[in-house]
Amino acid sequence: MKKFSYITMAFVALATAFSGCKDQGGKSNGALSSNAAERVYVEPGKYDEFYAFLSGGFSGQLAVYGIPSGRLLKVVPVFSQDPEKAYGYNEETKPLLNTTHGFIPWDDTHHPDMSQTNGVLDGRWIFMNGNNTPRVARVDLTTFETAEIMEIPNSACNHSSAFVTENTEYVIAGTRFAVPIPQKDIAISERKGNFKASLSFISIDKDNGGMDLAFQIRVPGFDYDLVHPGRGKSHGWVFFTTYNTEEAHTLLEVNASQNDKDFIAAINWKKAEEYIKEGKFKTEATQYAHNVYDEETHMATSTIKKEVRVLDSSELPGLVYYLPTPKSPHGCDVDPTGEYIVGNGKLSADLTVHSFSKMIDAIENKKFDGEAYGNPILNFEDVLGGTVIQPGLGPLHTEFDDKGNAYTTFFISSEVVKWKVGTWEILDRKPTYYSPGHLSVPGGNSRKPWGKYVLAMNKITKDRYLPTGPELTQSAQLYDITGEKMELLSDFPTIGEPHYASMVPADIIQPKSKKIYKLSENKHPHAATTDAAVKVERDGNEVRVYMTMIRSHLNPDNIEGIKVGDKVYFHLTNLEQDFDVPHGFAVIGAENSELLVMPGQTETLVWYPKKVGVWPFYCTDFCSALHQEMQGYIRVSPANSNTELNWSLGE
């Protein structure tokens, strides 16, 4: 009997030990037990399922990641110079960064948005805003290069930008700051009533993506924070959140937070098109740069345009309506059906959702509750579609899946909350690490979301990674949203500060990605597309070197007759026609950068020889087994010397 009880006790002890282990395991290895690791692991040589385009924030660039792995695939230089790729340093891309303020080598990028066809992401172009010196860029998704940049006149901090209508009719660009229009020397304290805002509509060429500033709508001088075009039933409208309807000019954290409600501005752009057709616009003199990169000449040109067509909302009825929305709303998001417009009132405890059909009804029945500078204000109760009650603190942005759910980030309470569109019921909440801004579901701001993941982009990482001194990375966190509850799968560091991201299934873009530029289509005026075209020409103190690069030599690799005080243009043409064989070019003492020339492309580096001697140049990209041999000499003679211009290879 005694023996039996010992055995029983032993069993009990063992069982307790095992179950104890199991419990502990379940808690500490949550990711492993739910095989999160497997779900983000992409085998070597295999591809990610989605492309993610994340704005680089204050880096000024666009980062391309693979999802679910979070692997960084490319940083596309857009508004900032990039010495790695010679972007903004070589002669070909400098014009892209030209503005009416001169050459501006940096900007603050926020919202990449992809072109759409019938409300579905089509993978042709990414449009992205530059906040600081107001600009909108177009990135071509066959080359993953910046193809066009347009400066936005009458704008100051181009934040409510650059979002795309459902057939890419327009890219919308609003202004966060109101300013005097036209600009003038005026006391800042006279802001209220005197400063105005402009909402720009850039039309997009259906075939080549070319941008044209079609018109601007002049609106009262509030801060226009974020924007989303309507879709489906609300196609033809566009919705802006506003704050600082107080029109304060100082200590905005207090003075712009006094009104209980600010507005969502609903703009009827189909009506605007009618007014344009009827000629009811004013043509105003202004100046803005329009910069276009030509893929055949491999060069950008910058043109200063001098006029803009303006529709004044206070004089043209039916263009603008204001929907009262609590507490300085930030994100303005439209659900896939186009019926609901979410105003993420960042200082509110609740989430306000307006109904498009109720708004139309209120407009048709003229149920107005006052006006702002001649623009009707609708009744809050008349347009309210629903309220998500106390979902969290500090709602910023909302995206949608394909099952009628919405996902909202909460900056202050640091979480993502899932709720049901229509019933406004809260379904789930998961913490983020820490303080997310935007979030992104593939296609989550279009008519067709692919509701597999949500990516939350965090402003703060604190203790999440190995520390790197005072400056830490920011991060993106990936959640699986296929189940009832969201599951955190992974997080990964990002470049700059990611604001918004556009995600799309890889197969929409992958087959169209270019491998090379065709040498036979190279129309660069200084290209040497064959070795026979290699030459060095002098015109006064300007010397042009027409050089070719192919495995594994630069032609010519010996140059003589250059003099101190010359301005030397190295025009490098990569003769390769094979995938992934770029060649680089660097020359000692260059004040700009290297060149990184893709197969079939021509790029130009300007070099000022300052010292007499024989100086090296070489290929910077490990191109082949004989890469180290891909080098040459340039002889620099005194300014007054008679050394003959001479160039050679293999002599």
């Binding site: 090379i516 192919i550 495995r551 390769e576 026609q577 094979d578 995938f579 087994a625 004989l626």
Partner: protein, 187 residues
């Protein structure tokens, strides 16, 4: 017999042979198609890229044209005309002669192909950047296989006939069949 005689004309449409080179750095293989009158890229720029690779070991550039490209098409046209005359004559013994002639012409073509390949793979620039030797100390050649698959340094080379060659072979075989059919009908 008519069919047999006409089938080799398809050589003007379909390639005769294909040489394919595979290597880890070329997830899409490099390939060269050999037509009766031309060399062609299997994918755009393949021949240029094969040349780029091969210059490291001192191999000559694959020429845009070789003299055979002028001779072969005449050969095929002439044998076809002869074949057609024979087919009209309807004498089955001549079918056999045509068959033998075609076999000899094809064999000559293949021998020529082999000689070109051998020269291409062995007649190397003495100033070649990379020189390899066989175990016995002789200079390594880079001749692609005549028929089949062969490993050459980091490449796997395949060399196989293509549709054009199959039509030629089928045409020749039909000539022989026509001979036997004709013979049986007569007896």
């Amino acid at each position: 017999m008519f069919l047999g005689v006409l089938l080799p004309l398809l050589l003007f449409v379909f390639p005769l042979w294909k040489i394919t080179l595979e290597a880890p750095q070329y997830p899409t293989s490099l390939g060269m198609l050999i037509y009766i009158n031309d060399f062609a890229d299997a994918h755009p720029h393949d021949i240029k890229n094969i040349n780029l690779m091969n210059h490291y070991v001192g191999m000559k550039y694959i020429p845009n044209a070789i003299p055979e490209f002028k001779i072969f098409p005449y050969g095929i046209v002439i044998t076809t005309v002869i074949g057609l005359i024979i087919a009209f004559m309807g004498n089955h013994k001549w079918y056999l002669y045509w068959f033998i002639m075609m076999v000899l012409v094809s064999a000559a073509g293949l021998i020529d192909f082999y000689i070109w390949e051998h020269d291409y793979g062995h007649n190397l620039d003495p100033r070649a950047i990379l020189k390899f030797t066989n175990e016995d100390g002789t200079a390594m050649g880079f001749q692609p296989p005549f028929f089949g698959t062969k490993h050459i340094l980091n490449f796997t080379a395949h060399s196989y006939p293509r549709l054009g060659a199959y039509f030629l072979a089928l045409g020749i075989a039909l000539g022989l069949v026509a001979y036997f059919v004709g013979k049986r009908e007569k007896s």
